[in-house]
Amino acid sequence: MTDRRGIAPSLLRLGRRIRASIWKVPVDEEVEEELSFHLEMRVREYEARGADPAEARRRAAAGFGDMDRLKARCGELGRERERTRERHAWWDELRQDVRFGLRQLRRSPLYAAVAVLTLAVGIGATTAVFSVVDGVLLKPLPYEDPDELVALWTRYLPSSGLDIPRFELSGPEVLDYREQSQAMGAVAPYGVGSVTLGADDGPARIGAAFVDHRLLPLLGVRPALGRVFTEEDDLPGAAGTAVLSHGMWRDRFGGDPGVVGSTITVDGETGRVIGVMPDGFAFPTAEARIFFPLGFDEQSPGGRASHGLRAVGRLAQGVALEGARAELEAITAVWNDEFEHHAMGHFIFLRPLRDDLVGPVRETLLLLLAAVGLVLLIVCVNVANLQLARTEWRHRELGVRAALGAGGGRLVRQLLSESLLLALLGGGLGLALAWWATGAVTGIDPTAVPRLEEVGVDVRVVLFAVGLAALTALLFGAAPGIRAGRGRHLDALRGEAKSSGGRDGARFRRVLVGVEAAVGVVVVVGAALVGRSYWELSRVDPGIDPEGVLTSRVSLPRADYPSAAEVGAFWDAFLERAGAIPGVDDVSVLSRLPFAGGGSRWDFLPEGRPPPPPGVPVWNAKVTVGTPELFPVMGIPVRRGRIPERTASEGAPVVVAVNETAARRFWPGEDPVGRRVTFDMGAEDPAWLPIVAIVGDVRADGLDETVPDQMYVLPTGPLGSRSFVVAARTSGDPRSLTSAFRAVLGELDPALPLAEVRTLEGVVGASVARSRLAAILLAAFAAVGLFLAAIGIYGVVAYSVARRTREIGIRAALGAERDSLVRLMVREGAIPAVLGIVGGLGAAFLVAGLLRDLLFRVDPRDPATFLLLPALLGGVALLASWIPARRATRISPTEALRED
C-alpha cells in the first residue's frame, strides 16, 4: 500500500491507518466475511442458471472444498501479511527518520560539527583508556585456565626485622611444596635474566626466562612449532636447548619455519632451537624473549636458606586459593619447628598470577577510566544542552508534526534517531582517535605498564565504543526527546507565549549546568591531587646526581672468559680505555644501578658480634659491588672516611662502604669506619673486609620508598664478576659518547654487545614514569573537562539571554541600570554552577579517600586543593556567565523590543 507518492494519497493513507488502528478488525473476521460473500454470489449464480436453492448451495460449497481448512489457511496467510506489512512500515519509518535526521544536521552544520567533535573527543578518550584497561586488567592471561595459576613468594613477618614485601623461594622449599601439597596440582620454579645472543649481524642482549621443564606444560600452552623442554633437556649437563618466543622468532629469525633444529650461540656456547611459542604468549612478561631449561637439580637443590627461585603453581581441581594458602602456610609452619632458620618468621604467600603482574597498575588505570568517564559525562551534558536549545528552536516544526498525527512515541523516536546519528558519527570519529591514541601509548616504554603489548583496538574495544555511543545518545537525546513527546508543541502552533515552554526548558538546562559543574570539580580536584603528588615525588632528593651519566651493561660469556684472570684483565683494559675517551670525566663499573629495580641482599656479620643461626637474616643489606670510582660517577657524597683509589695490582684489598641508614641501624652510637665485616657466613676462615667510609643515602628502591640499608663492596684490585653495569660521568651530552664506548668494547672483543644503553637520568625518570603518565593524562582530562564545562555554562547563559532579549529591551527602556541587567543574566549561569561546585566539592571530598594509596606526601583531603580549586572554578563560571550577559546588554532597547 505504499507505492504511490504525493500528499493526497499519504493523507488518505494516514487517515486509513488511524482508522485501522482504532477499529482493529481481526484477520479471521475479514476472511469469514470475504468467503461468505463469494459463497453468496456463487449461490446466486447457480440459482440464476436454474438450480434450486439447496442444489445451488451444495454446488457452491463444493467449490470451496473443506471450508474450515480454507478459512484457517487464509487466516494464517493473512496474519503473515499483516506482520510483513508492519515490519516494512517500521523500516520505512526508520529510514525516514534517519533521512530526516541527516537533513536536519546538514541544515545546522555548525551545531552538528560541535556536537560530533565533542562526542568524538569524549568517546575516543574513553575508548582509548578502556582499550588499555581491557588489555592489561580484563583480558585473561594467555594461559589455559589462568584463574587457577598462582605465584609463590616468600614473605618475612615484621618480627624478622626485614621490610621486604616479597622474596624468592629456595630449591628445597620448592621441592617440598611440590611433594607435600595436595592443594597445588603442580609447582614449577623459574628464573629470569638476560643472555647474549650471538649472530652474524652483531651480538645482542636478550631477556630470557629459565624454566623448569614442567612449567610450559603447566601453563597449558602448546608450542606453535617444534616442542618444549622434556625432563632430559632439564638435566644438568644436557645439551643446550632453547625455545623462542613468537616475537623473537619473527624479528630475529625472520619467521623461518625451518628454525627448529638450527643452532644458536648463547653466551658463547652453542645450543639448539627446539621450538617456538605461539603468538600472544609471554612468560613471565614479554621481556623474556627466549626460554631455556632451568637445570634445577633435584638431587642437589641448593641450600634451604638460599632463596633464588621464583615459582608458579596451578591449583588442584576444585581447590580455592584460600584453601591452598592455608595448606601451604601450615606446611611452612611445620618447618619453623623442624628447621631452625625458619624461626625468624619466614612464610609462604600465594597470589593469583594476574594480580602479581598487573596489581601495581590496577588502581591507576581504574582511576584514569573513572576520570575519563566523568569527562564523557560532561560531554553528554553539553550536547544535551545543545539539543535542548535546538528543540525549543524547532518548536513550530515539531508542533506541525504532532498535529499531522505523529504520536509522542514517533516524535521521541525521530529525535532519538537524530541523537543516535550524532553519536554514531562521533563514535566513529572517536574510534579513529582511540586507535591513534592507543598506538601512541603502546609506543611508550613498555616497562611502565605491564602487558602493554596486549593493548590494541580489537573487537571488544570496538563493541565497547559502539555501546558507549548508543549510551551517550540515550543520555543526551533522552531529555529533548521526552520533552518533545509530551506534546507541548501544539502550544507552539497556537503561538502561545514562548516563556511558558522556555521556563521549563531553562530550569532543566540549569540543572544540567549544575551537574556539569559538579562533575568538573571532581575531575579537577582528582587531577590536582595526583598532579601535586607527582610534583612532590619529583622533588625528592634521589641521593645521586643523575645528570650527565651514561650507563650500559657488559657481560662476559663464561665460554670465552673461563678464568678469573681473563675476566680481571678484560675489566682492567676496558676501564683504562674507557677512561681515556675524551669527554669522560670518570668511569666505573657496578653490579646494579639504583632505581632500576631488583638488586640482591646479602647477609653479613660485623666483627665482634656472635654469628646468627644459619639462614636467619639478622644482618642483611642491599649490596652493590663496584669500583671505588662509582661514588664520584653517581654523585654520591662521602660523609665520613675515605675511599681508596683503584690500583691494578694483585692482592689489592677489597673494602666496604656503608650508607648512613645502615650505619645508624647496625652500628648505633658507634663509628663503623675502621670496623670489619664478612659476607662468608658460616665459613671456617671468613674474609674480613674493612669499612672505610660512610656514604650518603640513595633511594635505590624508588623515590617513594624508604631508603634501604646499603653496603658497597669495592674491590680495589682486579674484578671477578662477569657482568657489570658501566657508568661514566661525562661533560656534555652523555649519549654522544655511546659510539665511542662501543668502539672501545669492539676493540677488546667484537663479540660483546654494549647493552641497555641509558642515561642515569632516564633510569631515574623511568622509575616514576607511571606516576608521570597518570599525572599528565589526568591533567589533560581535567583541562578538557574544565574547558567543556565552561563552554556549557557560556552556552546556557547565551541562549537564555537571547530568548530574553525582548525582556531586556523593556527593562532597559524602563530605565534599568546596565549593571543590574548584567547581574540578572549572570545569576542565570552562575547560580546553578556555584551550587554544582558546592555539590561537587562534597562528592570530591567523599571520593578523595579512595585516592589515598596513589598519593605521595599529599593528604587526600588537602585543604589547599579543596579551597583553591573551587574558587578557581567559581571564577571560571562567573566569567563564562558574564561575557554573554555583557554582550546582550549592549543591544539598544529599540532593537531589543523589535525582537519577537
Partner: protein, 116 residues
C-alpha cells in the same frame, strides 16, 4: 480447474490472477468470474485454490487489497495490482509463452510453425 501436473501449478493460476487484475481492481468473485467468462467456461476457478493464491500474492506484495462496496452496495474486499505485481506479470507471461512454445513444438508441430 484441474491443475496441470508439473512445474507450473501455482504459476499458471498466479499469472491468470495477475492478468485479470491488470484490467482493474476486482474482488475475489469477480476474478473468478472474469477468468471463467474469458475462457468461455473452459477453465473453472476453484475457490479452494483461488483464495490462498490471492492471499499469498498480497503477502508477497504483488497485490494490494482494500475493502469497498460492490454495485449492489455489498461490502467486499477488492484486490488491485501493484507496480511490483505488474513486473511480475510480465515475467510470468514470458515464462508461460516459452513453456507453451515448447509444448506446442512437441504436440502440434504444424500449429506451432504457423503461430511462431
Amino acid at each position: 480447474m484441474t491443475p496441470p501436473q508439473g512445474t507450473h501449478l501455482h504459476g499458471t493460476l498466479d499469472a491468470l490472477i495477475l492478468k485479470t487484475l491488470s484490467h482493474g481492481p476486482r474482488h475475489g468473485y469477480g476474478v473468478a468470474r472474469w477468468i471463467e467468462e474469458t475462457t468461455g467456461e473452459t477453465i473453472r476457478v476453484e475457490e479452494g485454490s483461488l483464495y490462498p493464491a490471492l492471499y499469498r500474492l498480497e503477502k508477497q506484495g504483488f497485490l494490494a487489497s482494500e475493502w469497498g462496496r460492490t454495485e449492489l452496495d455489498r461490502r467486499a474486499k477488492f484486490y488491485r495490482l501493484t507496480e511490483k505485481g505488474e513486473s511480475r506479470l510480465g515475467r510470468e507471461t514470458e515464462e508461460w509463452r516459452r513453456f507453451m512454445e515448447g509444448v506446442c513444438r512437441v504436440l502440434l508441430p504444424s500449429f506451432a510453425a504457423e503461430a511462431m
